[in-house]
Symmetry: D2
Subunit: 379 residues, 4 copies
């Protein structure tokens, strides 16, 4: 392993019981390129302190707000100061934090959806362009080696001109929640004030959409969405299907649900070109299926010499030794580290501000389409 | 095996190189309840005669038109006469033949789509009601034991109230045809005069739709469809996605394509209720996946005592001995034979005139929705 | 479909509740090349008559013994007479019947194991050579198109020189029987007088062994077997594992069980050469996996132009339309029909007397090896 | 996450290009319960120093031999000193290092095979008993949640009394090496002086054997092995099959190969009892198949409430979010950490000295059985 000075990392959110916090922390550790030095781990300062202690993080790097974090860190020398801050708070808090962090010179890693409005997303995009800071939105699934290989095979023309793209993201976890007032009240994703205008599409549909564009290299032009709140007294979507028009003449669909009872985390994508198809499923992520037009189908797996450079460098173990979602996120953190170090990075090594903006547009346009009774809305 | 007098069967279409002819012939033979005695096997009488000879069918039971078949058969004694005629011609020829056959006292087995217009479908429905004849539309896939089990499990309430239904039917065989003028001219499914107003939805989307209603026991209320001809100079759809509103508050989708390059015959359906989900895939048909809400998922397979009565009686071999599509069609022929014999038949033992009408409505409404720029159309 | 005079077929065994009878009957019907004209369907003559009636077979072609069948049929003209007889009785009755049938000029299709001793097997082999009659032992699984493709790919050198072969055949159906005296007494496969010296290896291990030699084109040299009766009071094996030495330097294994509780009919085979591997599983038979040394793995499926001639001609439907075990057996019946007609037949189009002898040798040697405390025994 | 003082960890081996080093390092980091503080990373001291530098490990904690490591660490205060040392060197070096470490008070984590002789293994076992130190042999695969669940389900009686166990571990990576003198010379696993008496069985067969005993809770009594060096000039096995006699009346088999060309890391195990079966495959590790006798089969997956305590605590993410081999090893490191802290640990939370001894016995007995021409040898 090559020697890198470890990058100083801070967290906004991601406290004691936060799954997403654990995900980012392990991902940051895995390639030994980051050191978590402080943050605002929780809106409750005592919790934040306790969490820091459990991680051997000194108390003086624990802050109560993003503002105090910025002012505290700015007082430190550049080599001690956080270089990058991971923004892991609920959706509605992303914009303000990211804006302040970018403006004061921090690189940012931000959870999706990047913002709750397109306007905010565009503001951040301008800011990234102005500041030249590294910005990553964590569409974690793009870190899987087989997703990266899928992207490369398409770019290389393996399946020819794309004709159809279908992505789905099905979960069942909201099923017991959405009809129970009590449980619903405790679920921030169902609260428009915290989550924004969408639950299901903003939380998971956006991942499916990101995969569509990430893998195909194409840009969706318009969307027609049929969203569903599952229950009259619930305000946000928990299920929906969207039609897409992509590029010049490609059709696509996004199906997403959090009330697909029994499904765990069934994200998948299929892309068909005029020379063949490619299919990938997140729950069995180390398998990429290629359907050529007149040959036996093929299964690509990680760790093999026949893979492209980015996919090849996205595993740490030999073929047949499964890696998982932490490893995928670690690949993204590794891409960000290279960018922060100013190294040349492969396109696709982490999702950027452009991905962030596209995702927010998709959610907003889907909600608009649905409100208008399933009209096409431009993206 | 119980003794049945074998039912005299005639064919319209299904000649020498007809796959669908072979499918119906083997299906009819399998349970030894039918005897193929004659028909109009081809629009070319010489071909028809040659085909009959290859099957040891006497020349005097070979006819040149449906009219001569009817008059010829009517001259025979009831015990010699065809009891049922299978209509296997291209779509546009179904209506006239079926009308005449029903009117003159024949039972009818008819390929899908039953007719090319809703009006014709309703005419046939009235005729079936008036004549009391047995009528079956061959949605072959409903003959698979695991499809029948899926229907029964839903009827029994295993997955609770249905919330979402997704069906897809993806093939790639039109991909090399649709952009080649020569090949296209030789493909009757792409000719509106023979195929009707739809290719892909009329040929395979209709099967996916039929599964949605057959398996769920629910009736779709409206459809919004985005169809695609793949090529400017082609007039009929070769690909499309439809949104469905089903029952009171169920959402669904149908995805169908004949340019999903590399796909063979990928028909599948997933249904999610408020207590679990069920999933089935035609290319691996002897597996039905049940996703309960808080238990390990389950795999049902044919030939096991835990199956419902119709599924249990839909295999001939012990568990683990795969049966296929001929066996599925044979199950449907067996259901029709029981109905002709006047035996009590389980609901679901063969698709009826109601299924036929629903399918035609679905195709017509999808085409209309698409023409109107993806508006909702009632079913 | 080409015109053939239908071959007159007789049955020994295969009566009313016989699964194997149904299997052979449907297989014979499927390609429309056989007509079942009579036989001894049951050891009980009344049952035999009743079964014949249910199949529209005239009473005068129903016999009470193989001797009366032979003398009765010999009185008929050659064109009316059975050309081939399918021997479907329990194991111990095969030898005598087959010997008489071959000697009097009938072609024979015989269930496995062909005989219960090697001596008898060799006698039949001589007889087949002397008489020149067509003889087929029904290793049904060799009729699957993907098994045939596997054989061809190996013959073609796709995986190079073979290094290792593993086959398994696991079922669970004897589990509830073997420890229950009553049920055991009603199971002829556990009765040495009827079944011969082996239950599990004679019934299913033999299929696995046949696949090893059929697919690899190699001949096993010796076997070391560890057999297991599951229960002290049971005399025949219900489970076992055998080591094989094959060809010059190939190692193999056969695992077979009828007390692998929960398994249905899990026959599978994996073969590894110095350039790659091939794997097939009977419960998902329309999939052949190829593992090349440095390329993505491949999945072959039936009905595709890339297949070899025998595999290509072993399906009746387009790719993606599953066929099953009846279709596999029908392919074997079709191969036998061609041989009876004197047509050139591909090697592998049906299992021959050599396969029959090899199977009997394998069972006998395995039993001997086990008796000697797991010594190597030549094959 | 609860607060633990991080455990000071040292490495013997596991240097710059060592996969196993990376595996242990990431596994130790993942649960944030260890800190890697020093070691002998390479037999070349300069490489060792360079590697330490790349990991921000101070130079004064880099040693050139195990002896200097021990004396160096003993000079430090107990709180600074390594508490546990991971022994990651080639096989033949394990014994001496482990003996010295245990004797001087270090806990030990040791790669498999623990030693190259049974005598050495027993010496270490005595030493562990005498010293009371925590000792773990890294059978990594026991860290997978579904392997742990399999063990618990069997202990709970889900499949009744075990009747048959089959395990296999198939790889193809030695195929291009074993016949190439040059490559072979560069592969320490094929050198008896470094690897001990076995390559394939000592490297991977031992994992399969460990799973058999770990999961079943049974102890194998004797083994009969047929090993194969693949090439005359090669001295160690690269392929083999072993028969097992287990407990009172259970039969088993181990199949292992490193010349199963095309296989990546195909470790799997199937266990059949008198009430059902359980199956698991390492290449798709987040799936445990249960085959009950008369019910639909079941699929257990990680992260679900229906799992047992140890399996439940062996994932960090919700259901459907795949974890892999690093996560499995991290679970073992976590178990060791709890043992070092003196917490109550579940049986099965890490493989112990007993597992280490059993593995060495298995390899030695297999080699002996093979040398004697496949005789049974006691374990």
């Amino acid at each position: 392993m090559e020697k890198f000075a470890q990058i100083k990392l801070g967290f906004l959110g991601g406290g004691a019981n936060s799954l997403i916090g654990q995900m980012h922390r392990i991902a940051a550790l895995m390639h030994e390129r980051y050191q978590l030095v402080g943050g605002v781990f929780s809106s409750n300062f005592d919790c934040s302190l306790a969490h820091a202690m459990s991680l051997d993080i000194p108390q003086n790097r624990v802050y109560d707000t993003v503002d105090s974090l910025i002012s505290g860190e700015m007082r430190l020398s550049a080599s001690e100061r956080m270089a990058v801050v991971a923004v892991l708070t609920p959706n509605a808090l992303h914009f303000d934090a990211v804006k302040k962090l970018l403006s004061t010179g921090f690189h940012v890693i931000c959870e999706k959806p990047m913002t709750t409005t397109v306007e905010d997303a565009l503001t951040l995009q301008s800011l990234v362009e102005q500041t030249g800071k590294v910005f990553c939105v964590t569409h974690t699934y793009t870190g899987y080696p087989m997703v990266r290989q899928m992207r490369e095979l398409i770019a290389r023309g393996l399946i020819g001109d794309i004709q159809r793209i279908d992505a789905q993201y099905l979960q069942g976890w909201l099923n017991p929640i959405v009809k129970d007032d009590q449980k619903r009240a405790n679920t921030w994703r169902l609260d428009p004030a915290v989550s924004g205008s969408s639950c299901c599409f903003g939380d998971i549909g956006i991942h499916a959409f990101n995969l569509v564009e990430f893998v195909s290299g194409l840009s969706a032009k318009s969307v027609l969405a049929d969203l569903h709140s599952g229950e009259r007294s619930n305000h946000l979507d928990v299920d929906g299907t969207a039609l897409l028009r992509i590029g010049t003449d490609v059709r696509g669909s996004i199906r997403a649900s959090q009330i697909a009872t029994g499904e765990e985390n069934n994200l998948s994508i299929s892309i068909y070109g005029n020379r063949g198809g490619l299919k990938w499923e997140q729950e069995n992520p180390n398998r990429l299926v290629h359907l050529p037009e007149e040959e036996p189908s093929q299964i690509y797996t990680p760790g093999n010499m026949y893979l492209g450079a980015l996919a090849m460098s996205s595993t740490k173990l030999p073929a047949g030794h499964p890696e998982g979602l932490f490893d995928a996120m670690a690949n993204i953190y590794s891409g960000v580290a290279s960018a922060i170090h100013g190294d040349a990075t492969s396109p696709g090594s982490f999702p950027t501000i452009e991905d962030g903006v596209r995702g927010v547009r998709f959610v907003a346009a889907s909600v608009a389409s649905n409100l208008r009774g399933q009209q096409w809305v431009d993206l």
